[in-house]
């Protein structure tokens, strides 16, 4: 079992080679190769889950090979409970995205090889326990995304792709400075790039001289890392790239972006920013909570104002990721568990929403709830598309946190956690839930109820392929809404360790 992480990480790259070896005219073969690759990856991640020891502390399935010995950089992989969930989510969403991309017909070969490359790099980010390796994957991930948005995106794709790239790069270059500073702060020893060895708050006493001011090492570099991760999450005020990227990206890429890539930001907080700089994290938790709160409320209001349904869901992601930030800022067992659970649940529910919008877009070729000229974009879909409406209802209610569906449990846990520390913030954040329900229901009313829009008469309901790939997500949303313990049990120990560490400061 030791090499399984290697397999999961490199299998998509093998798939890329397979796709590249196929002649570009044989589009069907390319799709099947991609599908088989992502399916095997999914199976492997389930195998990983079955072999995962829920009670064990620390990392499992560790692989450690020296890479650049002069700098003590290792090819160091391993997973804990938090990563386990993300691995499964990543494998699942890429499998589904391959199916949903079946209709892509522009440059099929390039599209699927980039998609597989993206999957591998995302796994790399989650598995890496070496800071250098983490950074490399974090950056390389941008390359396939840049091309996926830029080539297969909507009308304004070039702007969106460049904005996405520049924003993330801006954040991560600060992270790079932080990584190197940590390397020297630990005395260039053999563990200087080892994320695990850096954890535990060893840097509380250090200071640095910046432009003539003495500042705390821990605070300075916590904020450097914060910038890198917060842009990815995205936390207000760094969220402005997100609506553009989402609206312009093709459906599958939106799903991946919202479903997994945003989680890399919060994962960065869990794995890096919080455990390495616990003192700064605890002292800054109010600021993080306030930023999270602003994301929740502001994202929800922005979503309400949108006429473009994809933009609406994009802003709802800002709002929902704000809940994750609130859970993180709580730094209590419930809050953290809720945050990690919300990362998973938002991954499944928002993926559903984006997939559903993609399905509708394939039929209508627009995404306007209300068109710019004031006429209705949709209307009465409920009578024409019963299957579609059913799935949409499940996705939407999971998204707004209806009890019995997955979103409710994670949000409830987050509120339980955050209430213990920030009462006022909790009270205001609950309003965010209310606005969330409001904009989703209002959108639903405008699209699905009312008079049947003549334009929508000809739309077909979901076909077998579309139903097939929605089923696993519906199951996730319903099953984990009633019975979340398979997820909670996996992450309990890992989250507990982090909370214990933070409690010392």
């Amino acid at each position: 079992m030791n090499g399984i992480l290697n397999w999961i990480l490199w299998l998509p790259i093998l798939g890329v080679l397979g796709v590249l070896a196929t002649p570009s005219a044989k589009e069907g073969v390319i799709r099947v190769v991609t599908l088989v690759t992502t399916f095997i990856t999914l199976v492997l991640s389930v195998v990983l889950y079955l072999h995962f020891d829920n009670a064990a502390t620390g990392m499992q399935f560790v692989v450690k090979v020296p890479w650049i010995e002069q700098f003590h950089i290792n090819y160091h992989l391993g997973i804990d409970g938090i990563t386990m969930l993300m691995t499964f989510l990543n494998a699942l969403l890429f499998f589904i995205c391959t199916l949903s991309s079946w209709t892509v017909d522009k440059n099929v070969k390039a599209y699927f090889s980039l998609l597989l490359m993206l999957q591998s790099t995302v796994f790399g980010v989650f598995f890496a326990l070496d800071f250098f390796l983490f950074y490399v994957y974090w950056e390389v991930m941008l390359l396939p995304m840049f091309f996926l948005i830029g080539i297969w995106g909507g009308e304004n794709r070039e702007y969106a792709a460049i904005k996405f790239f520049l924003y993330t790069f801006f954040g991560s270059i600060f992270m790079l400075v932080g990584i190197i500073a940590l390397y020297y702060a630990t005395g260039k020893g053999p563990d200087s790039f080892n994320i695990l060895a850096l954890q535990g708050g060893q840097f509380t006493q250090l200071t640095v001289d910046l432009f003539g001011q003495t500042v705390s090492f821990e605070h300075l570099f916590f904020w450097f890392m914060f910038l890198g991760f917060a842009i990815k999450v995205p936390v207000f005020p760094f969220h402005t790239w997100l609506p553009h990227a989402h609206v312009q990206a093709p459906t599958a890429v939106s799903v991946i972006l919202a479903g997994v890539l945003l989680k890399m930001g919060t994962y960065g907080f869990l794995r890096i920013a919080f455990p390495i700089f616990p003192m700064a994290a605890v002292q800054s938790s109010t600021i993080i909570a306030v930023l999270g709160l602003i994301s929740v409320i502001y994202g929800a209001f922005c979503a309400m104002a949108q006429d473009d349904v994809k933009k609406l869901v994009a802003y709802s992601s800002v709002s929902h990721m704000g809940f994750v930030m609130l859970g993180l800022a709580a730094m209590t067992v419930q809050g953290m568990n809720g945050a990690v659970l919300q990362m998973f649940n938002h991954g499944t529910s928002t993926a559903m929403m984006f997939l559903l919008i993609g399905i509708l877009y394939e039929r209508s070729h627009h995404r306007w709830i209300v068109k710019p000229d004031g006429s209705k974009g949709y209307g009465g879909l409920y009578t024409k598309l019963p299957k579609y409406t059913t799935v949409f209802i499940i996705g939407m209610f999971a998204s707004l946190g209806l009890p019995g569906l997955s979103g409710f449990i994670s949000e409830a846990l987050i509120f339980l956690g955050i209430y213990q520390r920030f009462t006022t913030i909790t009270v205001i954040a609950v309003v965010g839930l209310l606005i969330g329900a409001a904009y989703l229901l209002w959108m639903f009313k405008r699209m699905f109820f009312g008079e049947v829009n003549p334009e929508t008469e000809e739309y077909d309901d979901m076909n077998a392929r579309e139903i097939f790939y929605m089923i696993p997500l519906c199951l996730c949303v319903i099953v984990f809404g009633i019975f979340p313990s398979p997820l909670l049990n996996v992450m309990k120990v890992s989250v507990g360790q982090l909370v214990d560490l933070l409690a010392k400061f």
Binding site: I68, L143, I151, F169
Partner: protein, 488 residues
Amino acid sequence: MIQQLLGFLSYYIPEVICVVLMTTLLVAEASVKDEFGARKKIYIYALSVLGLTLIPLGYNLGREPVTIFHNAVTIDPFSTFIKVIMVLGTMGSIYLSYQSKEIYRNLKSEFAIMAVGVLIGGMLLASANNLLTVYLGLETLSILSYVMSSFKRDESTSTEAGLKYALYGGLSAGIALFGMSHIYGALGTIQFVDILPKLQALQGMSLYLVMASFVLFFVGLGYKISLFPFHMWTPDVYQGSPTPVTSFFAIVPKMAGLAAIVRVSYVFFGTEGALSVSWMGLILVISAMTMTVGNVTAIGQSSVKRLLAFSSIGHVGMMILGVVVMNEVGVRAILFYGMAYLFMTLIAFYITSIVSDHYGTDTHDVFKGLVYKNPLMAILMAAVLFSLAGMPPFSGFVAKFNIFSVIIEKKLYGIALVAAINSVIGLYYYLKLAKTMIFGEKESDEKIEGFTCANQTVIVALFVPVLFLGIFWDRLMALSTDATIFIK
């Protein structure tokens, strides 16, 4: 005496080979008739002899450092490493010159002669161990460069480039010589080894005088590698010169000048003290300005050659940060950067040259939709642009990582932030070019004739180190660590 001379020569084989090559090329060029076949043989001859110099260079890399010719020249792993970069750069440019339409057929072997001449000057500059050798190297390098930049004789831009280069070059060489004469006047020696103790003994006014003369000396070198504020000539010369010449200028004279600056800085200001601090401050400010000016100005450029010119200014600003820290780690970072920069620059100029040859201009527009015309080349070009921007998994990232790590080791967080912001700005204009090539609808799929099988193979071969050094960089790192030994 003879034996001593022979002993010296055993260190000096690469330079000797180059001189022989240059002379034989001159004879060969004069004796062939104007037929392309013969010129092709000449160029193959030039390339293979240059390749031959890599053997003694490689041998010198492992040898103990020595000074030869009565302290005039020092052969140490550091200068040898720089020479390897320069020889590779020259070879790359000569190959390109034979493919390029911008170098007229009857001038192709002249290009090789000039390039080898500049290379000899560059080697001298990289090894210079007294002020006179520095000047000699600088002038050999410069005078031939002026000729090279006006190679397209019948085009006004090229002649303008030559004239501008010569005027600016002459002025800055004069300033450098003025500074050197003051150093000699104040200290009574031109030998680097003798200057250091005398420098440390200086006090009061004469110290300021000598510092001022060092700054003047620095102007001459800074001009050569186009540091701010002596960079004004660069864009015009780079744009006006034929592309193979530009690619040559972006590598050989830059590396030579950089080597001289590194040596001067370490020999004279490498020891802790007030002098060292003020020199360091000077270079720190200059490097921050060079980076920022280079990168910010590059944003608005519509000519790709001009864009690469400004980006090369930005890269030199980054490299020169390795000088600021005044230790071996800094030199190592510079050497690694130089090697990474070599391959990236060559590929960028190869593709630019071939595309602009096809369309007769080098604006952004001719790159539009390159991915449909030649997918492989467009992807490689994009990868090189990402590498230049410092994206993993390419060598440009490792180079940048090294520079960042040396400045952060010295806790110079301020300049690290400046460099960080600069690499974001850099990314922006590289992305814009990558976007032009790859995004956008298919307009035509006409074949660009310059992308012959041979050319594509060469470009792919040059790309191998760009990728390889970005992933398995420990060997080159070890090599450049060993090459940081040099004589003080």
